[in-house]
């Protein structure tokens, strides 16, 4: 008997589906359901069903509210800066044409570096006293002493400083994606706009960016999701401090789970976080990308 194409397709997808079900879906179901229990942190300890108590506790906790706000700020800072720099560099590469190829490769290298390494490296660059950034700023006459700016020790600016390595690490991704998108912008449309007397800003905002919209959407959504999940890069720089000023949701959930030993509350927080991510990503996909519409 000959197997139908449909059966064959299922047979081919089954191993990957089984793997994802066993090692992603099932853990995730357990994680979400843990949110409804009061759980003792000791392995095999007692669990007690408490309904929505953990969710109420999460919403009411100042730590959760603060971490949510910081996650939003961090994500916006990272995405906005990466997009601005990424688009700028992509436009430069496109304007210079084929001769920029070598520089495109050089620009790509941070993408391969581990976030832990990037975080530690930037912590080393930005450290108050023997950090090279402050020292170079002092030599340039911008700072009076090398400990004037406490990049990672001043609670008012630490959240922005911890974003720097993330921006350094992945702006290239946006550049590469936008650069590839620019290759597909038809040259005659640009020429026509130039002939009509369009100046560069008009050309950029009225012609190039609208044409790139699907590509921009994918780049922003992918980076937005990843920035909102940032964990190791922040943990390694500040461990959430000073004064909790860099404790984003992923750090708070991790800490609630491991250090404060409250897996139930941590699971409730994680579930809220996941639901919000899904809603925001879905809205973003339909708002920016508008699949199916022609313009």
């Amino acid at each position: 008997m000959r197997i139908t194409d449909r059966r064959f397709a299922l047979f081919m997808m089954a191993p990957a589906a089984a793997f994802l079900a066993a090692f992603v879906l099932w853990p995730l179901i357990r994680f979400v359901s843990n949110g409804f229990y009061e759980i003792s942190p000791i392995a095999g300890g007692p669990r007690e069903f408490v309904g929505l108590d953990n969710f109420v506790a999460a919403f009411e906790s100042a730590a959760f509210q603060g971490a949510s706000l910081r996650t939003v700020v961090y994500t916006i800072v990272v995405v906005v800066l990466e997009f601005t720099i990424g688009l700028g560099v992509a436009l430069i590469f496109a304007s210079l044409g084929a001769r920029s190829a070598v520089f495109r490769t050089v620009f790509m290298y941070p993408l391969m570096i581990a976030p832990v390494v990037a975080g530690l490296l930037w912590r080393f660059l930005l450290i108050d006293n023997f950090g090279i950034v402050n020292e170079l700023l002092r030599q340039a006459g911008i700072l009076r002493s090398a400990s004037q700016i406490g990049w990672l020790s001043d609670p008012n600016i630490a959240l922005f400083s911890v974003a720097l390595p993330d921006i350094w690490l992945t702006t290239s991704f946006i550049t590469l994606v936008l650069f590839a998108g620019l290759q597909n912008v038809p040259g005659d449309i640009i020429e026509a706009a130039k002939l009509d007397g369009a100046r560069y800003p008009t050309l950029l905002f009225r012609v190039i960016i609208p044409l790139l919209r699907p590509v921009i959407a994918v780049a922003l959504i992918v980076r937005g999701i990843d920035a909102a999940r940032a964990f190791d890069i922040i943990l390694i720089q500040t461990n959430g401090g000073p004064q909790e000023s860099t404790t984003t949701l992923s750090l708070l959930i991790y800490r609630t789970m491991t250090r404060y030993g409250d897996p139930g509350l941590a699971s409730a927080m994680g579930t809220i976080y996941l639901v919000v991510m899904l809603v925001v990503a879905t809205v973003a996909i339909f708002a920016i990308w508008r699949p199916g519409s022609d313009r």
């Binding site: 994680f31 941070p110 449309i189």
Partner: protein, 279 residues
């Protein structure tokens, strides 16, 4: 010629200068890391900081590589990343092929599920996986960690491989089938050789995802299977902020993958941009 490309000499010069400034800022952190790794441990944290080493030495490399646990961690990183790459390819290739060639509803659900997986915070899967691995007897093993890393790289691999299969014309397999090849035979003998470049790209991304991963390694390993990112992170606490040795180990860990990228950059750019540009 692309319409965006500019020909005016003055604007080209300005663009080159801007680009040079951006690249210097972009390249500086890693170059400084390399320079610091050749300083003496005291020079590395000297005040005021200097860009160039006062005295070039390999002391930090010797310290870092002879530390307890560093050599096993490097081996663990390689073993885990290779295992995870193999798992990803073995699972993703047939799935992606089925998704692109037989457009069934289950295939569409699959692609959507792979997208959603990317939004899941690592801790939400990692914490329950600790228990799963204990049940399976895979706590603190490279195999267990490789399975966990595959949860990250598999959705990405399916996505990438789907794009590569998409670019292979259907006629190739039809011809093979007319010649008497089975569906699996057509995939194995005709389609896979055509997408070998795509397989390489997917393998590199799966390898990198595992090589650079931190949180799963932190949760699922303690001594035996610990990977290098954890050891690098521990330099700050265990050895009292030995920045010199940390930069040396970070250099040893990063340089092979950076070189790999330079060698295969054309393919990697294709992989990075393929899915996104197709929309």
């Amino acid at each position: 010629m692309n319409g965006i490309e500019t020909n005016r000499a003055s604007s080209r010069a300005l663009l080159w200068i801007t680009l040079a400034v951006v690249l210097v800022i972009y390249g500086f952190p890693f170059i400084y890391l390399l320079l610091t790794s050749f300083k003496t441990p005291l020079d590395a944290i000297a005040v005021p900081a200097s860009v160039l080493p006062a005295q070039w030495t390999l002391e930090n490399y010797v310290t870092a590589l002879t530390k307890d646990g560093v050599a096993p961690a490097l081996i663990n990183s390689v073993v885990t990343a290779v295992l995870s790459t193999v798992f990803s390819l073995v699972l993703a290739v047939p799935a992606a092929y089925a998704i692109t060639r037989y457009r069934t509803p289950s295939g569409r659900v699959f692609v959507l599920a792979a997208l959603v997986t990317r939004m899941v915070p690592t801790i939400a899967v990692g914490a329950p996986l600790v228990e799963t691995m204990r049940t399976l007897g895979l706590s603190d093993t490279s195999l267990g960690l490789a399975i966990a890393h595959t949860t990250i790289s598999l959705p990405l691999s399916i996505w990438l491989m789907s794009s590569f299969f998409e670019s292979v014309p259907n006629e190739l397999e039809e011809a093979a089938k007319v010649d008497g090849a089975s569906r699996l035979g057509a995939l194995w003998l005709v389609v896979l050789p055509v997408v070998s470049g795509g397989l390489a790209v997917t393998a590199i991304f799966a390898f990198l995802a595992s090589w650079n991963e931190f949180l799963f390694s932190l949760l699922l390993t303690s001594v035996r299977a610990q990977t290098t990112p954890i050891v690098i992170a521990n330099f700050q606490t265990q050895f009292g902020l030995d920045w010199g040795a940390m930069t040396a180990l970070a250099a040893v860990y990063s340089i092979p993958v950076i070189l790999l990228t330079l060698l295969l950059q054309r393919h990697i750019v294709a992989g990075l941009t393929l899915g996104a540009v197709k929309g």
